[in-house]
Symmetry: C3
Subunit: 133 residues, 3 copies
């Protein structure tokens, strides 16, 4: 298992970690495998989306923040970050990407994003590789 | 493939199955692997979130139940559980967790939850393990 | 890695690709493995849900399309498909299914769906297999 660090800078933010994950693939000397990206936090997640036009990330956060309210009189969790927990479950904290010939195999417009929902914070991402058949 | 059983007790409920999954890891004698947790139902899911403060689970269900309405005049599915199907797709029915040295490797606050959206029912969860490289 | 093609026919649509994935399992001669299904697009996703009653798919799309608005004055992405990007992140583009004895192991009511959110288009799905332990 490999670990990368992510420093987030806002309350909610999508941080492009594609090149960091690619760096792990490289360091680990992986040829062909299935790469698992896992976020060990309960107020953050991981997602794949477009990393060409930054307005896509803006719009994702805008809608997610508007559908899942930061404040709600019915929230019981006393830390004030219930919305972050909910968003974490909705986006998920685990996904897989194929590695082929030593490179992450992503679609043309795809990047891997760390999804911060309760920042800014210092975060970790765990990366592991499964053997293909 | 291994199977665990979950008895849910409410219409919507997050049931902490972390220790049951850890039990499978143990029984199966797994050292290092990637554990896949799969829910073979279409009105339930699986998610990872905080299992320390039960108010987190309360708040997740509260918002999910409020964003995805139980009743909607536009629903066509005649069984009356359309909301459960929708929530299942949003949370997902498949996720991966690293196993290292015979233990599930989760973040400090993370637990694995069976997400019931059309209970109470008797449910199954399937667990399998991929070889790491 | 294997690839299948999907021709979508509507703006938003869930296309049942279970038999196409089963065809890949068959062609590849896979016995027991973990099958990864990956969508290399940023305005589409993959999900598992009921494929017996088509009204389930109708209701999923209805609610998703209503919670994530097609038009919003706050959207910045100029291509007009921000909603599709958001839905892609919410459903996800990567999931795993067990293969046992040469067959996809799904629950009784489960099918695998390609989730089109910005169609109609010609799409691809990537399929790979991890070795079980």
């Amino acid at each position: 298992m490999y670990q990368i660090s992510v420093q987030t800078r806002a309350r909610t933010e999508l941080v492009d970690i594609t090149s960091q994950i690619a760096g792990v693939v490289s360091e680990a000397g992986i040829g062909d495998a299935l790469c698992n990206v896992f976020v060990p936090h309960t107020t953050a997640g991981v997602t794949i989306n477009e990393n060409a036009d930054p307005s896509v990330v803006h719009d994702i956060l805008k809608v997610v923040d508007s559908v899942i309210p930061f404040h709600d009189p019915g929230y019981r969790h006393s830390e004030g970050n219930s919305a972050a927990h909910i968003k974490s479950s909705i986006l998920g904290c685990s996904l897989n990407v194929i590695v082929e010939g030593g490179s992450l195999k992503l679609g043309t417009w795809q990047g891997i994003f760390f999804a911060e929902f309760d920042g800014p914070r210092s975060r970790k991402v765990w990366v592991s590789f499964s053997a293909l058949v």
